[in-house]
């Protein structure tokens, strides 16, 4: 699966050159790097965090972290993947520290019965709700469900990366994603239930 493109037409070699200049302390190169990736990281944070203010703060903090840690970046790997990893770790850490997360644990979720969707209803749901409604609905999900969807369907992270970021077993990521999809469907259909009262659901 291809990682979401954020760099427009910039090639890997060009990115590598910019990174080299940033490492050497070139302020212009740093500005260029930020202009290239800043909007994408802001959008990522906007989806991962509950408020716009949080996303703004997180974007700045992520880039400060990037600047500090750039020396540890392995240039044989895609820069975007590393950048999203830094951002997702930061956002998840913010959420984790901010509140007492009471997400259900792996074992409990694995035993939860998942109702099979009616494909026709699912298609109708998709037809009736636009992108903005989906993003608004996302904000009503518990932190972990929201993060899972954002990491997978926005940042295009692998199951391994998601497991690592959220601190869950890899085998659990599929369950987490499916459960999050169900929760989102419920929110959009207006049948969202108790989880909305949980840690992630209040005060959006």
């Amino acid at each position: 699966m291809e990682r979401r493109k954020t760099t427009g037409e910039m090639s890997a070699a060009e990115i590598a050159e910019v990174l080299t200049q940033v490492r050497a302390g070139d302020a212009d190169a740093w500005g260029e790097l930020y202009r290239m990736y800043g909007p994408a990281i802001f959008r990522f944070c906007r989806r991962a965090l509950p408020t716009r203010e949080d996303a703004e703060d997180a974007t700045t903090e992520v880039f400060m972290k990037v600047r500090q840690k750039l020396g540890t970046y392995d240039s044989s790997r895609p820069f975007t993947a590393w950048l999203y990893k830094v951002a997702s770790n930061h956002c998840w850490d913010m959420l984790r520290r901010r509140r007492i997360r009471q997400d259900l644990e792996t074992g409990d979720l694995e035993t939860l019965p998942l109702e099979h969707p009616d494909p026709s209803q699912l298609e109708r749901l998709q037809a009736e709700h636009g992108s903005k409604e989906v993003r608004n609905g996302l904000q009503k999900l518990p932190d972990r469900a929201r993060m899972a969807l954002v990491l997978r369907y926005f940042a295009e992270m692998s199951y391994d990366e998601i497991a690592d970021t959220l601190g869950v077993r890899r085998a659990f990521v599929g369950v987490l994603l499916l459960r999050a999809r169900h929760q989102l469907r419920d929110v959009l259909a207006g049948t969202d239930s108790s989880f909305m009262l949980g840690a992630g659901g209040a005060k959006r």
């Binding site: 959008r43 540890t72 990893k85 984790r96």
Partner: protein, 535 residues
């Protein structure tokens, strides 16, 4: 193959099934319209989600237009750093360097923690300065905590700089100048009568006689010490025997086998001694704190007395209250106590009918651990108070550091690992702190570490209690549920801790368990966030 479930369909679409399993799904879908429809619906949903999340109608805010820059570090931080450097220099030149010089002059190296502690303490003019340092550390810790909590709200760096500057300035208050004269006995030392030392006097000798006057503190390490002259400051003495026949204007702090006071002591007496005798002619202007195997009060104490230990005889007078936690107490005919007298011991005090006591002795029978009075309401009230204190501590943790508490609570699930780490932490931390204390620069760090260690031990109950509550009440959502779990868990731990014989051991295990969980949670916090990404 029968119909597959939604989970299998999702994993298939996301290429998460192994080849054989994926082949089965594919084969089945080819012949099953129902499952094919499910696959299609989920695939469409995936695309729909991606497109929805990628939607880009929200503009990047103007404050994020420019890249965060290092050179944007405001002048406030630079000022704060400057002040910090100034404060550090003042701390070094004002406190640490004089200690080092004086220690070197006294023939000390940094090899002995206790002598260094007491020796330095002497130059601090007693423990008051130590207390000031503790207070400073406490205030500084609180300040850092407040700044940390408010860090996201403070966008004005100069404000932080001012706060930092104020904190650092408090460090820069210069200490009182001090000087000392050091004498090494050969093997004995005598300050002849008629001679006067105009500064603090430090003596190391086999036997010490102070017949002259000391216009300052007298600090002595000696087998026997006899003070016949006038001491205007304090006496700090480490010896087998200390006899004070001359007047002392300050305090007497003695660590000795036998302490005898025969003259006036202007301020307080603190004695840790096998025998303590405050003789008939002796008058103590302040209070007496004594830990002694055999104590006698024949003179007069203007303030209070607090005594621990074995036997204590009172034949003198006392201006205020008396509190004795000794095995036996004897109050003789010439005794006079003008305040309240509290006595906790193995049996009731022997009181002479001629003794003058302002009020009857408030006697409490000393109970051993296994002799707790379970029928006394007071016992349960005490336990309730202890529970309440732990609960309030936990409440503060929940409000200030919920993420950390949550992590520590989760870490409690790894029972064996937590207990193992906890035991290690329990043993290693004080050793490490003492080692740090030995290096004179690390004295403050070592003492703060020990304070944090005590707080950590106290917090252990909270983590285990929360975990226990979760096991019983389940994983309810929100602060209210967290408090409920904490309350229940702490109640159980307190009840179990009061069980005779095994309660103490259980409490010990709980402390190790909670400490280990805390260490694991701390590790999780301190682990470099980028490590997974880099690897």
């Amino acid at each position: 193959m029968s119909h597959f479930d939604e989970m299998t369909a999702l994993l298939y679409l996301e290429s998460q099934l192994d080849d054989d399993h994926a082949q089965d799904v594919s084969t089945h879908a080819a012949t099953c319209p129902e499952c094919r429809e499910l696959l299609h619906a989920l695939e469409t949903e995936g695309v729909w989600l991606r497109e929805s999340l990628a939607g880009d109608e929200e503009a990047v805010p103007s404050r994020l237009i420019d890249a965060p820059e290092r050179h944007a570090a405001p002048w406030g931080w630079i000022s704060a750093l400057g002040l910090s450097a100034g404060g550090a220099y003042t701390l070094w030149s004002g406190f640490i360097e004089p200690w080092r010089a004086q220690a070197a002059q006294a023939g000390f190296t940094q090899g002995n923690l206790f002598t260094m502690l007491f020796f330095s303490g002497a130059f601090w003019k007693g423990w008051d300065a130590m207390r000031s340092l503790m207070e400073f550390l406490a205030v500084a810790t609180l300040g850092v905590l407040v700044m940390w909590l408010l860090r996201r709200r403070w966008r004005s760096f100069p404000t932080i700089a001012v706060v930092l500057g104020a904190m650092i300035c408090s460090l820069a208050i210069p200490p009182a100048a001090s000087a000392a004269e050091t004498k090494h006995g050969n093997p004995n030392y005598t300050l002849p009568a008629g001679e006067e030392t105009k500064t603090d006097l430090i003596v190391f000798a086999d036997r010490t006689q102070i017949n002259g006057n000391v216009d300052g503190d007298l600090i002595v390490w000696s087998r026997s010490v006899a003070v016949n002259g006038h001491i205007t400051g304090d006496i700090i003495c480490f010896s087998q025997e200390l006899t004070v026949d001359g007047p002392v204007d300050g305090n007497v702090r003695a660590f000795a086998q036998k302490v005898t006071l025969n003259n006036k002591v202007g301020k307080n007496v603190m004695a840790w001694a096998g025998e303590l005798n405050i003789a008939e002619k002796s008058i103590v202007g302040g209070t007496v704190t004594a830990g002694t195997g055999n104590g006698e009060l024949n003179g007069h104490i203007a303030g209070d007395i607090l005594a621990f230990g074995g036997d204590f005889d009172v034949n003198g007078s006392l201006g205020h209250d008396a509190a004795f936690q000794v095995e036996t107490l004897h109050i003789g005919p010439s005794a006079e106590i003008k305040g309240r007298t509290k006595f906790q011991g193995s049996r009731e005090a022997e009181v002479s009918p001629a003794a003058k006591l302002a009020s009857p002795i408030e006697f409490t029978l000393k109970k051993h651990e296994h002799e707790r009075n379970y029928s006394s309401p007071r016992f349960y009230w005490h336990q309730t108070l202890l529970w309440g204190a732990s609960f309030v501590f936990g409440l503060v943790l929940i409000l200030l550091a919920p993420g950390f508490l949550f992590d520590a609570q989760r870490a409690c699930r790894k029972i064996a690992q937590s207990i193992g780490f906890g035991l290690l932490f329990l043993l290693a931390t004080p050793i490490a702190a003492i080692i740090v204390c030995i290096t004179i620069v690390g004295l403050g760090v070592g003492i703060s570490t020990l304070l944090l260690y005590v707080i950590a031990i106290y917090s252990a109950n909270v983590y285990v209690g929360s975990w226990l509550g979760e096991r019983i009440l389940g994983e309810g959502v929100g602060v209210g549920a967290a408090l409920g779990r904490l309350a229940l868990g702490l109640v159980i731990l307190r009840v179990v801790g009061t069980v005779p014989y095994i309660g103490g051991w259980i409490s010990f295990v709980v402390v190790a368990w909670g400490l280990g969980a805390m260490v694991l949670a701390l590790y999780r916090y301190m682990r470099p966030q980028l490590a997974p990404a880099i690897s």
